[in-house]
Amino acid sequence: MQKRTPYTKDRLGAALLMLMGIGVVAEGQSYNIGNLTRMGPGYFPVVLGIILMAIGAMLLVTSWKEKGDEAPEIPDLRGSVLILLGVVSFVVLGHYGGLVPATFAATAISAMGDRKNSWRDAVVLGAGMTVTSALLFHWALQMQFPLFAWGE
């Protein structure tokens, strides 16, 4: 069952941590670091960046001893892309369309992420949520979100 690969969770994780640490330290350099008595805004993040790098290095070392380390679990591509697209469509259509299209898109697009949902399921679910959303958030809770808007 175990997939043998040099790119295991721990090693990829270690690489990610070290990259993040380097990025943070590099960016932190551009703020005033100061010294222990008078710490500048850069001090705390730079220390954290160094800690991240150190943990990354330690994780890399220990990963050679780790027996149960496997390749990372890759999420379903269609599902994850459509869920994220659902959220992003809410943002875009919320600005250039209003609450109604945003609700419909967020629900229907993410629903299409599940392979067991048909087009019809997604449309029905989206329509149902749109009605709920308009009634609950627009009329009942009086939220500052026009039903239809055309952006600025």
Binding site: D10, L17, L84, G94, D114, M143
Partner: protein, 511 residues
């Protein structure tokens, strides 16, 4: 402050909690928490972060009472899912599944739910009594806390939270650090400098707490689950009269309930130990002292009563370090703490004396909330069971929308919704690499406070790092940190030497 004073304050607290407008929000919180918590895949964290924006529009005291209500409502809702569906949506319930689900298969699911309710009520009551005894003491101690002490105890809390959750402690510390870094984003309070903002004006106020939670625990979880994990709906039927355990079952669960409460209370006082680990210890204890350990895992009622009591006692007592020291025990407490800070209430030693209505009202509301839970759940159980049957494929798209609108509503900001997507990606990457994600929230909430106190402590000591071990209270916490780290290193070295059979019961847990 004496015990009598504390008792007096508690009565005052009941006055606050029972005030109609406050009670209304408690009922609302428990009901909605239960409603959402029962849905598959919706844990207490997702529920609270989704409803967090609601607190912005109501006054502080009812807001916190409502959040607490949502919390135990969703916790109980999670127990329903765990017992009837074998689906732990809140990590501490992973243990409840072990014997709760077999009980459902044997047709005693209703009794398991009844015992859970009893255990929760009993443990909460004990937790309240402990709080009455402890809080006067704590106020006294807490006033001796300067920035140095606060800094060291935060460090201890963060370390404990990072290392005592599931899996690799190293990864836990990494995630805490990542959370601390997320807290750095935005305008620095001391100098006004913009940090990690990258010219995005919306980021100047920092990352949104609701967005970070919903991204990490909501969207990331959907991404990892969709089309990969079969989430089955339950067909268990439970009616009101099934909820009453038999006399024999009650007798059998009284002692485990007491022991579970004890375990939970002991661990509750320790900052940083999450409730999950508590339930595992309670379960392991029951199995160890049972006359016939082979019954466990096959529907032993003790295996439900004890862990459930422990997690509720733990939760109750956990409010003490959260409110009085500002050190949350787990991500849920961190979220509550975040809500307090947003409301302009600074958690810390002064909280009990400066906001007695909030502190004692909250304590009293635990009891009120637990009574509400019993009152609501007995007649509603049929509805919850129906809800459990909603298929996942319809549920998560609706949840995606509710998360979007929930985050939007807090500041009417679409940019915050974009952050949800971003943290969804970040969370999914970390989950795929098997990093525990709840320490991120702990770090994020504590980050700004830690930095501020650290800087202040060093200004006061003129840059002398030794101040952290020169001051006695601080030295104790630093000592505990060192002990914790040493214990981790020793256990790691042992594991490397003896690679077989290291999977103890404690490693089973989720974060």
């Amino acid at each position: 402050m004496t015990m009598e004073q504390a008792l007096h304050d508690l009565i005052f607290g009941f006055g606050v909690a029972l005030e109609p407008s406050h009670l209304m929000w408690s009922v609302f919180g428990v009901l909605v928490g239960n409603l959402i918590g029962v849905l598959p895949g919706m844990g207490a964290l997702t529920t609270i972060s989704m409803l967090l924006p609601l607190t912005y529009v109501i006054p502080t005291v009812p807001a916190i009472l409502m959040l607490a209500g949502i919390f135990y409502g969703s916790q109980y809702g999670g127990a329903i899912g765990a017992i009837l569906l074998n689906l732990p949506s809140h990590p501490p319930h992973a243990v409840t599944c072990l014997d709760g689900y077999p009980m459902t298969l044997k047709g005693r699911g209703g009794a398991a739910l009844g015992v859970t309710m009893m255990a929760s009520f009993f443990a909460a009551s004990v937790g309240i009594i402990v709080m009455i005894f402890l809080s006067p003491l704590l106020v006294e101690v807490a006033f001796k806390f300067g920035p140095t002490e606060i800094c060291s105890i935060m460090l201890l809390g963060l370390l404990a939270g990072a290392t005592m959750s599931r899996g690799s402690p190293l990864k836990g510390v990494a995630m805490t650090t990542f959370g601390l870094l997320c807290g750095v984003i935005g305008t620095d309070v001391n100098s006004g400098a913009q940090r990690f903002v990258f010219d995005i004006t919306e980021l100047a106020d920092g990352v949104d707490l609701g967005a970070i939670c919903l991204g990490l625990f909501g969207i990331a979880d959907f991404i990892m689950t969709i089309n990969r994990v079969e989430v089955k709906a339950s067909h268990a039927e439970v009616r009101m009269r099934d909820m009453r355990p038999t006399m024999a079952e009650i007798k059998q669960s009284i002692m485990p309930m007491l022991r579970g409460t004890l375990v939970g209370t002991l661990f509750g006082a320790m900052p940083g130990t999450g409730p999950t680990i508590t339930t595992f210890i309670a379960y392991a204890l029951e199995r160890k002292i049972a006359k016939d350990p082979s019954r466990f895992g096959k529907g032993a009622i003790e295996g439900v009563a004890s862990p459930e009591a422990s997690t509720h006692a733990k939760t109750q007592v956990d409010f003490i370090p959260t409110m009085s020291l500002g050190i949350p025990g787990d991500a849920v407490m961190a979220l509550l703490l975040g809500a307090l800070v947003i409301k302009g209430v600074q958690p810390g030693p002064q909280l009990i004396t400066e906001h007695p209505d909030l502190f004692w009202g909250l304590i009293a509301s635990f009891w009120v909330g637990n009574v509400l839970l019993v009152i609501l759940n007995v007649p509603m159980i049929g509805v919850w069971v129906k809800l459990l049957q909603v298929p996942y494929r319809f549920l998560f798209p609706a949840a995606v929308f509710f998360m979007c609108i929930g985050v939007y509503s807090s500041k009417n900001s679409l940019f915050d919704v974009l952050q949800v997507a971003a943290f969804g990606v970040v969370g999914a990457i970390f989950l795929a690499l098997e990093f525990p994600i709840s320490p991120i929230v702990l770090g994020f909430v504590l980050g700004p406070m830690l930095e501020e106190n650290f800087r202040r402590a060093l200004v006061l000591s003129r840059g002398h790092l030794g101040v952290f071990i020169d001051r006695p209270i601080s030295a104790v916490f630093i000592g505990a940190c060192t002990l914790l780290l040493t214990a981790q290193i020793v256990s790691y070295l042992r594991k490397v030497k003896k690679p077989v059979g290291h999977v103890g019961s404690l490693e089973l847990s989720s974060e």
